[in-house]
């Protein structure tokens, strides 16, 4: 199944249906393999046409760290937004931890991201994302994301 809730792969049309990020803040191009509720493998192709390269930096273009983190997180989102019950839901950052940058990512690089969902409970998703370029570790992080519409059900009575 492709581009549908519960699907095993998503192109850009499916990604736009599954999550709320939009250009210029959408940082995955394709989810090549997805096991909803478990994992996602995504790709992001960085070309010199990206809006940040001319200024980061003019004489040495490379992908800003926050963009790499956002790419990792957007891939991670697909591990649970691919589930029919969460498809298209809004999300919010809770924590990012243990983020490591190991390799510069430059125009022409394809970042391949392996994301794993370790826990999804009461609107809180926890897991890891690892990004590689040509098989070489570039960036990794642990991440926790909230689903506000679920969290709302559990907030204390006041």
């Amino acid at each position: 199944m492709h581009n549908e809730p519960g699907g095993s792969s998503f192109d850009i049309k499916g990604i736009l249906k599954a999550q709320c990020n939009r250009s210029p803040m959408l940082f995955i191009d394709r989810v090549c393999h997805c096991v909803p509720g478990q994992s996602a493998t995504s790709e992001k192709n960085f070309t010199y046409n990206e809006w940040f390269f001319p200024t980061h930096y003019e004489d040495d273009p490379n992908v800003p760290g926050f963009v790499l983190v956002e790419s990792l997180v957007q891939s991670f989102l697909m591990t649970f937004l691919s589930l029919p019950e969460h498809f298209g839901s809004r999300t919010s950052f809770l924590t990012i931890k243990e983020t490591q940058f190991r390799r510069r990512v430059v125009p022409g690089d394809r970042l391949v991201i392996d994301s794993t969902l370790t826990s999804l409970k009461r609107g809180i998703a926890t897991g890891t994302s690892i990004g590689r370029v040509d098989g070489e570790l570039a960036v990794s992080t642990d991440v926790t994301i909230g689903l506000p519409k679920i969290l709302e059900k559990y907030k204390p009575k006041t």
């Binding site: 926790t144 969290l151 559990y154 204390p156």
Partner: protein, 80 residues
């Protein structure tokens, strides 16, 4: 570590407050204890005490003191 020390540490870690402040905490009494902070606290407490709380207990968990009462239902005692 005693149960009260574990319980206090969960609040300190979740909300980045000093342990002398936790006894007076209630939901939304500090900006860190919002709906997101609440769920992080609940998950942390479940992990620390190896319990799983019902939704009614999670929504009743409105303060530090009320929380002790609720955890008592799961066998977490705070008496010396």
């Amino acid at each position: 570590m005693s149960n009260i020390a574990t319980y206090t540490a969960a609040f300190v870690d979740a909300f980045r407050v000093d342990e002398t402040q936790v006894a007076d905490l209630a939901y939304q009494s500090i900006e860190q204890w919002d709906s997101l902070g609440h769920m992080q606290l609940m998950s942390d407490l479940e992990e620390r005490f190896e319990i799983e709380m019902d939704i009614d207990d999670i929504t009743d968990f409105s303060s530090f003191s009320k929380g002790k009462e609720i955890l008592g239902k799961y066998g977490v005692a705070f008496d010396a």
